[in-house]
Symmetry: D2
Subunit: 353 residues, 4 copies
């Protein structure tokens, strides 16, 4: 291999050879700015099997050895959430940049410590909010931040399919981080979730929720809703974002019309002084305009995650989905979990701090 | 017209020439067992316009005249909900059978009076829960009652599209009666809704909810959920009913696959003594079987409503969706409305009686 | 009924109470400029059943009586094709305007006679090319005639579903008239079909083709193709029209995206002097732009047919789909039939005259 | 790497690092019974780029060196069709087993030589008809061969999307081999294509057909049709196979309903002596039964190709898609090309031998 390339590339170790680790390895290998040095897993046989028989990447079960390797400047951690705090802290303390899977940690206090540690150390701490790096989500963010859809009126996300019941988390912690990280990513600056009500059910008697509904109130008064379900025989991944000008419908199972921009809706005009009655009078008709399906590039999200991670390290800037983004998502998840325990009672986000 | 036919057919008057009335007229006219005598509306011009220039049906603005007509044995009432109590009561008192639009009345106490009045009088009081008469819903009911899908584990219904904001009701009272009447119709005997939590939003400032989410707890422990929304630019009408054996997906916007019966899911075996942990262990894999799309007749639901109304009258049996069914739906709606006022707090069904 | 309206409305008789006649009656009744006087069928019981028990329209089995009625100024003929020549000729000779179902007649010579007779008499002869009056087809025509899609490069139409094998016609004469009338309607002025090659099959042994493929060469060098099939268990109604600027995809079974305007394709630039080789070099990449789904009104095509018929009569102008349009479609059908007999040999359109 | 595994695995060289070669490398690497030794391309830099920086596979531009390597027992050839004859012949003469991309060669005589050479040498010559190894195609074949759909009445395949105009082949040779190899694979034993009529167009003026329609007559009287098009802005990949008992619809762009088995159609009963007229009388109604979507494994076709190649070598049996299958497809392609030159005239398959 050419010395020049590998000399400048950022040495990386991937930690965890389970479900997601192989994807990190594959995409990091395809990123010129990164150089994969190690795949680390307690089970070296599994790690070797992930790499296959043709790889020059090293295998180890010693995290200490990885952190001690001076050629390793960054680690990508794909282990169970309960191990994140210890592994991330150790990496930061060893001076390594960190990419960590969602959720950043299992509890808020730990996550704050990591974020602060990374900031003190001048190291990159990035959360792998993979979905935020899909071209469609980037485009949605641009449209919302650029004012193309107007004010956000509602957000509705459905993420359901036949999923394996997870050994350590409920459906909320398994699937909702995707929707919540997307919500956090696309909302206009300053808009955030203030309270959550969550309802769930465990019809199989597994001891944890297998389906859940989240109602989220935003500080601009809008309502967001997330439906996650492991028991649905069909895969639905649809997010609708209603705006005062346009409404976006993202159907991720429909590649031919993945993003629909609807120029339809109900116009109220600009007269803010209208009474309820006057507004209702105006609503007896609605506008039906064209629908546009924007062309989107077909790039793999995780490839873009890797590029962002490398670039954030190289330029010492915060990653788009940095530790603080992970913190915000974690706060909502914690509030949702508490609401679930309280049978759907509304819980303020951050109130448990 | 042949005397014999019209002599035996049940004389009917349709009350209300607004949005739904014309459909009642058209379908009643196509029902041999019924004979439409009058279309009654305060606005006779509108009623005449509904009938068109080629009709032999009479027009009147006098409800009293209709009730006084001895050839009228039954009335079909399609007026605003707030008028139902008075109109239905008058009809029953005049000895007429009644088909009434949903909701049966605006409040529970009134509905109870009507149901009891009809029962005392030996008259048919039927609610036009139109969707229950769709072939697909009849089939779903048969499959659930017949045990083909096993125990009902969850029920999820989405009914959203760009709808006119209604002058007198919120989205809950406009759309959710459909989902609730279907739920009431298909659930196994003895299974019913015990509590409701409802969240809504009014992003247009019209003074009433334009989108709402209902969480319904059933007495068998299962969770039902209904999502209704007037602001969605796309029309979604999907109901998923998860069972222990099979899961049904009804997508009413997809005529080629309106009902899907999924032989997929997660098997737990029959050992009820399994611990949570043992159940989770079992859940590391799931079953993926075939999907069947049952052939369904293409009959119009409202045609079947008319046939059922006529047959219930002729045979003096309760209609499939009788006044008591209307009462059950009304109780849930009322609880949902109260929960909406209480910001989503859980409200027991029937607790306000 | 108001005298003024019916006095000015054009008195109409509908001839034929079979499959299509009832639709003509219903839509003519909903058209203020028309006044339905008679439904005429050899089988008066059938005609009476079509009208139902509530109609004031007259029933007769005497075509002569209809033609003798001075209040009847126009007839709409929905009888088997083999009867068209005689019925249309008689109506024109009686001074009545005529709307006739497709195909205009069973053979070209007869059709020419009718067209010339109508023109000599100053009467409207209109073909019920219903599909041309769909809002989507009107829009396609506007886009092509207005240059929005550029030069037409190809036209591909699929019209298949489980259809009743017809007693008197093959699948070509049953279904292809729709595609051919649409093609005739939307092509730019001056562009027309010059030759046809048709292949068919009769796998059921019914003595006539149940599925057929038509290849049509246009005088601008473009290729059109039509696939019709009575044996397909799924309904497909898709027409794709490739242009040098944009490509249209009309999927009539998908109301949510009925018309798609694709700003995608292969650009060649304007240099007409490019060699084949140079053109191929340019084609190593292509343009992928947005897709637009234009908003379309939801009006019934046959309603627009009736309005056009009434307006053409009232203003003495040729109908959009006049007898000459019917002639052009008939010529292609005849050439296709001949090609079918010749096992797909190419037949020039009009060569059998 | 473990000696035992690599000692028994079949040493393989992949020839060609262009569009398809990387897929061969990746899938061969994932096949335990194969051991990839070399990636050979005239452009070593390209070959190295395909392998990436982490691979232990060797790169060479010398085909002679590959054939001289005793550890190489088999080659997989993914070079332009014009080079196939020379490369395959050399490999067979060097005693190597061969997997070759479609089409097997550019002309029939050459292909016969290769097939005979392989048979004489006792070597495996397999054509990479990738689509035949899709689970859905395997299932279709089983259903047809097992009699589940009854007699094949028609076959209709559409394979269109925006494709790069190829430098060396027309759309027929680029896309139709897929449909023809599938047709060859699924037809019942003894059923084959006897003649072809092909129509094409080159609306871009590139000197070769960019869209084409093939009509294929089978020796059982049934009709097959293939539509291939590089200019379609939407991707359509649908194959419909009509049978006397059931009809299959394979829509490869719809993962949720990839294969539909329609128990619908037109029944004729078993009385073969029915006259045309009697048959038509029977056809006034049809049967509409359920649709079944069989569960299908989600395995990558090319993985199965590699497994089949390795197993055919190991057991010295002909591969499922052996050289003779490639020959049959080539004969049809040649006949289609000739028909294209003859403006759609019907050409017998094999008549140019």
């Amino acid at each position: 291999m050419p010395n020049s390339g590998s000399g400048q590339a950022i040495g990386l170790a991937v930690i965890g050879a389970g479900y997601w680790g192989p994807n990190l390895v594959r995409n990091a290998q395809a990123t010129p700015a990164l150089r994969v040095r190690w795949l680390c897993d307690l089970d070296e046989v599994r790690a070797r099997a992930v790499l296959g028989e043709y790889s020059t990447v090293g295998v180890t079960s010693s995290y200490a050895d990885v952190l001690a390797d001076p050629l390793v400047r960054a680690v990508a951690i794909a282990t169970p959430a309960s191990t994140h705090f210890e592994l991330v802290a150790a990496a930061l303390e060893a001076g390594k940049h960190v990419l960590v899977e969602k959720p950043i940690t299992s509890n808020h206090a730990d996550a704050v410590k990591l974020v602060e540690l990374a900031e003190r150390s001048g190291l990159t701490l990035m959360c792998d909010h993979t979905f935020c790096y899909m071209p469609v989500v980037r485009r949605i963010r641009e449209m919302i931040h650029g004012g193309e859809i107007g004010d956000v009126r509602f957000f509705d996300s459905v993420r359901i399919n036949l999923g394996l019941v997870q050994p350590d988390v409920d459906v909320l912690w398994d699937l909702a981080p995707h929707d919540l990280s997307i919500l956090d990513f696309v909302l206009p600056p300053g808009t955030r979730v203030v309270s959550v009500s969550a309802h769930g059910a465990d019809p199989l008697g597994t001891g944890r929720a297998c389906l859940a509904y989240l109602v989220l109130r935003l500080n601009n008064g809008a309502l967001a809703h997330v439906h996650v379900n492991w028991l649905s025989p069909t895969k639905v991944r649809t997010t609708m974002i209603g705006g005062s000008r346009r409404t976006l419908v993202w159907d991720d199972t429909n590649p031919a019309a993945r993003l629909q921009v609807h120029d339809r809706g109900i116009d109220l005009g600009e007269d803010a002084a209208l009474s309820h009655e006057a507004r209702r009078q105006k609503l007896i008709s609605y506008r039906v305009g064209d629908v546009v399906l924007p062309a989107l590039p077909e790039t793999e999200a995780l490839r873009a995650v890797m590029a962002e991670f490398a670039d954030a390290i190289a330029t010492s800037r915060p990653a788009l989905t940095d530790g603080r983004a992970g913190l915000r998502v974690l706060e909502i998840l914690e509030a949702a979990s508490r609401s679930l325990e309280l049978d759907g009672a509304t819980v303020a986000v951050g109130e448990n701090r």
